[in-house]
Amino acid sequence: MAEESDRKLVIPGDPLGEGVAGHGTFEEDGKIFSKVIGLAEQKNNLFFVIPLRGIYNPKRGDGVIGKIEDISFSKWIVDINSPYQAVLPLNEAVDEFIDLTKTDLTKYFDYGDLIFAEISTVTRAKSVQLSMKSRRCRKLRGGRIIEVTPAKVPRIIGRSGSMVEMIKDLTKTQIVVGQNGLVWVKGENEDIAAESVLYIEQKSHIQGLTDQVKAMLEKRMGRTFEAKPAKEDIFEKKEGDYDDRKTDKE
Amino acid sequence: MIGIDTDLVREIMRNKKRLDNRAADKYRKVTIETNFVTSAEGSARVRLGDTEVVAGVKMDMGEPYPDSPDEGVLSVSSEFLPLASPDFESGPPGEDSIELARVVDRAIRESKAIDFKKLCITPGEKVWMVFVDIDIIDNDGNLIDAAGLAAVAALRSAKIPDIEDEKPVFSRKGKKALPMKGIPISTTFAKIRDYIVVDPGLAESEALEARLTVGTVDSEGIKICSLQKGGTSSFTIEEIGSILETAEDKGSELRKLVK
C-alpha cells in the first residue's frame, strides 16, 4: 500500500492526465488538472488530489467537533470551524419528547459546549445540518481542543485508527478526532498527546512517521505499546472509557 | 425594481446579437453641448444613448509640484450622483468612480493634449491648476467614454481666467483658450460570451465579462495613449490586437463630434 510520501506533489494548474475529474481536480478539454496544492492520486482513470491546505468543506457523513454558538427555539447553532454554520435540530439531538414551552435547551447543550456530531445533510447553498443520533456522538467534557489542517486528519487517525490508538494508549488520554480539523484530548498527559498530534501535522509527509511517534512517546512515557489488531470502529467504548452521557440532561 | 437579467444578455450575445440590435462596432447617438454652465471656466454636457454626463473645468492659481516647477497641474475627479441610478449611493467615491476619473485623466495626460508648460505663470511659484470635475447624471452604461468626451469637450471650451492684481478673475469669462493640441478619445469594448462589442449599454455593462478601454489621440498620426482592462475575465492577445484596430477607427469618428 502506498505510503503518503509516494504520492506526487501537485500545484494548481498541474496536468494529471486524461480521465475523470475527482476531488481537488478540474477538467478542461478532456484533460484533468489539479485545483489545489496537494498530493495527487489515481484510481483507474479517476484522478483526485488530497489538499495539503485549505479550510474544511463540510461533507455528509463526516464526524466533526463543534462548539455551541447560539441557541434558538428548537435548535442549536454550532461552530464547526468552517465559514458555514451548522444547525443541530432538537429532534436530531435528543430522543425523548421535549415540551419547548417548559424546557430550557441549555439543559442539554449550553453556550460554549463542545460536541462530537455527524453531518447529516449539506445543501447546495452549504447549509449544514448535524445529527447526534449515531452511537459515537456525544458531548465532550473538559479536555482541550487542538486545531489542525483538515487534510492531515487521516494521518492523525492512521490506518484503521492505528496512530491515534497508539497515542491514546501511551499517554492514557481520550482522543476524539473531527474531520473538520479539530482534535479533542483529555487526560493526565493531554499536553503530551496534544504535542504528538501537532508533530504529526508538521511531519505528515515523511515516511515511517508512526514508528517515529511511537518511539518518541515510549521514551517520554517510559512504557511500551503493543499494537492491537485493527479495530473497525475506533470510537468503540470500553469499560470506564468516556463519560458516556450524551447530554447533561441524562 | 427588477434588476437586469444578465443571463438573458449573455444568451443573446452568445448568438452574436445585441439587446438593442446594434452592430458590434456601432456607438449609440452622441450629443455634445458646451458652455452650458457659466460659473465654470469650461463645461460640457454629453449624451451617449441615455447616459448623461456633465463636466466642468475650474481653474485657479497654485503652486507647482516640486519635481515639475514650470508645469501646470491637472486634476480629474468624478462623482457618480445618486440621482443617476438606483445603485449609486451617496458618500465618498467607490472604486468604479475612482477608476473612471483616473482613466479619463490618463488619456488626457498621456496624450500630451495639454501643454502644461504653457500653464506656468512664475516658475517654481505659480502655475495654473486645472480641475476637471465629472458628474454622472444618468447611467445607461459606458460611463467612461461619455465622461471622457465630456471632459475633453469641457477642456476645449475652457478659457483661462484673466488676471487682475495677481489674482484670477472669475466673474467673467477669460479671453485665452486653454492651450490644447490633439483630442484624446476613450473607446470602451465589452466582451460577453466571446462576443466583443463597442459602447456597452447598461445591460451589457452589468453582464460584461471583460472590458478594455483604449485611449487614442491624433498626434502625428493616430496613437494609443492609454489602456485599461476591467472585468473579471480575460482577453487573448489576438482579441486585443483587433480591439486596438477598431479603437483607432471609432476614436476618429468620435473625434469629429468634438472638433
Partner: protein, 245 residues
C-alpha cells in the same frame, strides 16, 4: 545634460533590454494568515496575506452563489524615497481594483458561496512595477491558502525608454521613461487578465510591448511554481522563514 538611461542597449542597472530584474519568491512566510507569500523583483518587494474563505461581515455583502474576493493593495509609508502618507488613496484604490480583476478569473469562487476571501498586499519597497509584484505575491498566497485555482497569475511590466522597448522597467526608467505597460497573464490559457498603459505609442508598438511582457510573465510563472513546490517538498522543510531584505 542628464545621463542617458540606455547606452549600447544596456540599461543603467546593467540589464539587457529584455531582461527581468532578479526574482525572489517565498511561500508561507506568515504564521497567522491562511496563506501568504513574499515576492521580489529587484528592489520592489511585497508580502501578500490571505484570509479565507471565511464568513462575510457585513452579512449583506455576501453573495449567494459564490465567494466574494476582496483585495487591498497598500504601500508602506517607508516604501518610497519620500515618505508616503499612510492610508488608502485613489491610486491604491484603483490598483486594488485592477488587482482583484487580474486574479479573479482563475479562482473557483463558486465553490464557497456566501464567504469572503480577503487578500492583503503590502508593498514594502517600491521601485516601479509594485502592482505586478503584488499580484505575483497574491497569486502564490491564494494557492498557499488552499483556495482552488485554475492556474497561477504572473505579472510584470514592459515600457519604452529613450525610444527602446524594455522589459520590467525600474527606477529612473519609470519616472523618466516614455511609456509604462503592466500586464497580468494567465499562462495556461495564454490570456491577459490585467492590461494598463500610460504613454503614447503606435498600435504595432503596443502589441510588441504586450508580447514582450508576456515573455517576462512566463519566466516569472516558472519561479512562482518553483517556490510553491519548494514550500511543500517531501524533504524536511524549515518552518521558520526570515524575509530576506
Amino acid at each position: 545634460m542628464t545621463e542617458k538611461l540606455i547606452k549600447n542597449d544596456k540599461r543603467i542597472d546593467g540589464r539587457k533590454l529584455d531582461e527581468l530584474r532578479p526574482i525572489e519568491a517565498m511561500v508561507g512566510v506568515l504564521k497567522k494568515a491562511d496563506g501568504s507569500a513574499f515576492f521580489r523583483l529587484g528592489d520592489t518587494m511585497a508580502i501578500a496575506g490571505v484570509y479565507g474563505p471565511k464568513k462575510v461581515h457585513p452579512r449583506h455583502a455576501e453573495e449567494a452563489e459564490k465567494a466574494i474576493l476582496r483585495t487591498k493593495y497598500n504601500m508602506a509609508p517607508f516604501s518610497t524615497e519620500t515618505r508616503s502618507r499612510p492610508g488608502h488613496n485613489r491610486r491604491s484604490t484603483e490598483i486594488s481594483f485592477v488587482t482583484r480583476q487580474a486574479i479573479e478569473p482563475v479562482l473557483f469562487l463558486e465553490e464557497f458561496p456566501k464567504t469572503a476571501i480577503d487578500v492583503h498586499i503590502e508593498v514594502l519597497q517600491a521601485n516601479a512595477s509594485s502592482r505586478c509584484v503584488g499580484i505575483n505575491a497574491a497569486s502564490l498566497a491564494l494557492a498557499d491558502a488552499g483556495v482552488p485555482m485554475r492556474d497561477l497569475i504572473a505579472s510584470c511590466s514592459a515600457g519604452i525608454v529613450e525610444g527602446k522597448k524594455v522589459l520590467d522597467i525600474s527606477g529612473k526608467e519609470d519616472t523618466e521613461g516614455e511609456l509604462d505597460l503592466p500586464i497580468a497573464y494567465y499562462p495556461r490559457k495564454k490570456a491577459i487578465t490585467l492590461l494598463q498603459m500610460d504613454g503614447l505609442a503606435k498600435r504595432s508598438d503596443v502589441k510588441q510591448l504586450i508580447e514582450l511582457a508576456i515573455k517576462g510573465c512566463e519566466k516569472i510563472y516558472e519561479k512562482q511554481k518553483q517556490a510553491l513546490r519548494k514550500r511543500y517538498s517531501l524533504e524536511e522543510v524549515m518552518h521558520e522563514k526570515e524575509v530576506k531584505v
